[in-house]
């Protein structure tokens, strides 16, 4: 089971709908400073249910919505869609593709959908858990996060392992 598509729309600097088609192996993203690479990474962890605005570098959940630029006005909603290839039927669904999406507006509300049907965050987490992705947010290592592993308190490091266990 792997990620086939990641689609960002109105998410951070990706004002326009943007689709990445990922491959099974090693996918590498490059580009200049400030171009949007880490924003893609943020989009991925956001659609997987990340709850802390600070882990996405923001002060509030509203910070993930395209805020406009010198030439453009901001948008009112952000959406990220993750399409999983279920060819190996790791997920207990009779579909070859499963799409998870998350949607937020400026009130701070997040909505989740599985295959376009509205659901709760819990449903997404259970689905991912079946897929072995689960609460494995430890497998998403953000920019500058390495040193935190070393600065972390012994109990915080325990939490890393407990999350993966």
């Amino acid at each position: 089971m792997f990620v086939r598509f990641l689609r960002l729309s109105g998410f951070k600097s990706f004002a326009h709908p943007t689709v990445l088609e990922l491959e099974r192996g090693i996918n590498v993203i490059v580009g200049p400073n400030g171009s949007g690479k880490s924003n893609i990474a943020d989009g991925l962890s956001w659609v997987l249910g990340s709850q802390a605005p600070s882990s996405l570098r923001g002060a509030s959940m509203e910070d993930v919505i395209f805020a406009g630029s010198a030439e453009r006005v901001g948008l009112g909603v952000a959406e990220v869609e993750l399409t999983l290839d279920n060819g190996s039927h790791t997920l207990p669904l009779d579909l070859s593709e499963v799409t998870i999406s998350r949607f937020a507006d400026r009130t701070g509300n997040s909505e989740y959908r599985i295959n376009a049907a509205p659901c709760r965050l819990l449903d997404v987490q259970e689905l991912l858990s079946d897929a072995g992705v689960g609460r494995s947010l430890h497998s998403l290592v953000g920019q500058g996060q390495l040193d935190q592993v070393l600065h972390a308190q012994p109990l915080e490091r325990r939490a890393f392992i407990e999350e993966a266990a």
């Binding site: 949007g36 880490s38 290592v141 390495l146 070393l150």
Partner: protein, 164 residues
Amino acid sequence: IVQVFSEAFEDVAREFEVVFERLFPGGRGRLELSDPQDLLGGGIEIEARPPGKRVKKLSLLSGGERSLVALAFLFAIFRARPSPFYLLDEVEAALDDVNLQRFISLVHELEERAQVLIVTHQKRTMEAADVLYGVTMRADGVSEVIARRMRESRESRESPVLTE
């Protein structure tokens, strides 16, 4: 619950020794429980001894050495409890060329059973890609993905060739 953690810790600790030796050939690393009696609430300590050196506080290690120790910890978890997907954002920025190659060989091993998404500025890391994406920010403050290149064949691990 304690059982789950204790098994996980054993597996991670075992992998940590293996991975540490891969990143610090001739060195030795260990994970220890802060309190071996307290399996329910104890924390985890990292002991790192680069080759030829003596065990010291982690704070005295160099920038690159600290990155390697942190990577050893994370990769030990990845190997003990695999995930189908990994995301690594510029984790290798502080590594010199030799250590970068050691890191990349660990990533290749992850890739045998998982999908990996890496953000980088390093040329060698780009060369390890099966597919490469170029991101840019336009003058109007909007990001876009402007390129996608796939390696011609998985066997030839040279620079990806434009296939579109």
